[in-house]
């Protein structure tokens, strides 16, 4: 397209007045740091009241979590079957439970021997919102959260979702267990995961790489549609030109890749995304 500055005009027009909703909490912390505490109006008294109430609610929720967490910690049984390979294989068949199977993917990956990735079925539906899926974790957990006081369930499942709300010490505990086949803790790490590249040598998006952020114990595996590993690396600085094991370029198609790593705080996490290769 003949542009001169079509791009500039487009972005300026659409974005200079673009609005994104802001969480009310942001104002709360701003107002407290500018010392807008001396309420001059009834209105702000009400809002204070609301803030106060929600604080109390949050506090009590926090206490509740703390209590239920310590219950968990003292509960000796951590569902062991979840992490065993046979169950991973099972998930191949049981398509209906895709969501429940997600944490199991991560179990496999945290053990992080590359071979085991081959066990994973290629998942066409991974495409959807690949970035954050793993954090969402499985429905069991949310049910147990929702049910709240059903102690039994809470004891059975040390779930990723709950881990998010836990204190660091809890995470440390789980991290240590991760060697003994404990579920990994999805963290809040946000990486923007590329989902397409074109290794055709035209100088344009020829390499596949992950934007550098501080990660350790990094490993990445690219699988083709049949679930076959076609590329793997443990170097965060890698860039892949699409060459596969036999020296050919990977054929056009849809792939999926998995990353396991620890973030700057040492938290393990797993992420995946689809990857389409075009020429």
């Amino acid at each position: 397209m003949e542009d001169k500055d079509f791009i500039k005009d487009l972005f300026q027009e659409k974005l200079s007045n673009f609005e994104t909703p802001v969480r009310p909490e942001v104002w709360s912390s701003i107002s407290s740091s500018i010392g807008a505490t001396s309420a001059t109006t009834g209105l702000s008294f009400i809002s204070k009241l609301i803030i106060g109430t929600s604080l109390i609610a949050a506090l009590s929720a926090g206490i509740w979590f703390a209590v239920s967490n310590s219950e968990q910690e003292s509960a000796p049984e951590i569902e062991p079957t979840k992490t065993e390979k046979p169950s991973v294989l099972k998930t191949k068949e049981d398509d209906k439970n895709k969501e429940t199977s997600q944490p199991k993917f991560s179990n496999v990956q945290i053990k992080s021997s590359v071979d085991e990735f081959i066990l994973l079925p290629p998942e066409p539906e991974l495409n959807i919102e690949a970035d954050e899926n793993l954090i969402i974790a499985n429905p069991n957990n949310s049910i147990s959260e929702a049910k709240g006081n059903s102690d039994k369930e809470n004891k059975n499942v040390i779930s990723p979702v709950e881990d998010k709300t836990n204190s660091k010490t809890e995470n440390v505990v789980s991290n240590q267990k991760s060697d003994s086949k404990q579920a990994p803790i999805p963290s809040d790490v946000k990486i923007s995961l590329p989902n397409v590249f074109t290794p055709n040598g035209d100088g344009n998006n020829d390499l596949f790489a992950i934007p550098s952020i501080e990660l350790s114990d990094f490993s990445l595996v690219v699988l083709d549609e049949k679930g076959k590993t076609i590329f793997t690396t443990t170097n965060t600085e890698f860039s892949w030109d699409g060459t596969i094991m036999n020296g050919d370029k990977a054929p056009v198609g849809d792939y999926v890749y998995f990353i396991t790593a620890r973030d700057a705080n040492g938290k393990s996490f797993t992420k995946y995304s689809n990857l389409s290769i075009r020429y």
Binding site: F11, E19, S192, N205, A209, P211
Partner: protein, 188 residues
């Protein structure tokens, strides 16, 4: 920044804003909230364009408004309040980015990629959200210069000063950013 000088009701709105500023300086917390409500959403979008991550953007927004309220007494009652606020917001974002460093270090880009889905290929149909998404996926070096030049309307000279780079770097980063975006928008 002529960008924000438009519309007939302009002078009325300016007076309204000035009044709001005066009330805020008096410590009227209702006015402070009103000022925040008036600009927060727009400024949050600005932060999101610079910061990528939502939490970082929230931090930047928060910093910005704390600064804005503390600097309000210095406001000269010239020009448009929004422009003044936006400058502070952009500066806060740049400060944060500098703090997180990495700044302008990963400029060799073509690697990070976000594909628009099929039906959004035609520029006319591009929604602001798609464009936000594209911007947020851009490598830092491109993104910041592009934001400052194309959307905030800074000159390359100003950008160079702000970022501690040369004017020609700013220009070339912008051109590369534009090519990057054009590529994503027009082809796929």
């Amino acid at each position: 920044m002529q960008l924000f000088r438009n519309n007939k009701s302009h002078s009325f709105r300016v007076m309204e804003d000035y009044e709001l500023v005066r009330e805020c300086i008096k410590g009227n917390s209702r006015a402070q909230k009103a000022l925040f409500d008036k600009f927060a959403q727009k400024m949050f979008s600005v932060c999101l364009r610079y910061m990528k991550k939502t939490e970082e953007a929230e931090d930047a927004l928060q910093d910005s408004f704390v600064k804005i309220f503390s600097k309000l007494p210095d406001f000269k009652y010239e020009g448009v309040l929004e422009g003044w606020i936006r400058r502070i917001v952009v500066n806060s974002c740049l400060d944060q980015i500098r703090k997180n460093s990495k700044f302008l270090s990963d400029v060799q880009a073509e690697e990070v990629e976000y594909k628009l889905d099929q039906n959004s290929f035609i520029a006319e149909n591009l929604m602001a959200e798609d464009l936000m998404n594209l911007i947020q996926r851009m490598p830092d070096g491109y993104r910041i210069v592009f934001n400052m030049f194309a959307i905030e309307g800074y000159s390359h000279q100003e950008i160079a000063q702000q970022l501690g780079i040369t004017e020609s770097t700013s220009k070339s980063q912008y051109l590369r950013a534009r090519a990057y975006l054009r590529d994503r928008i027009e082809k796929k």
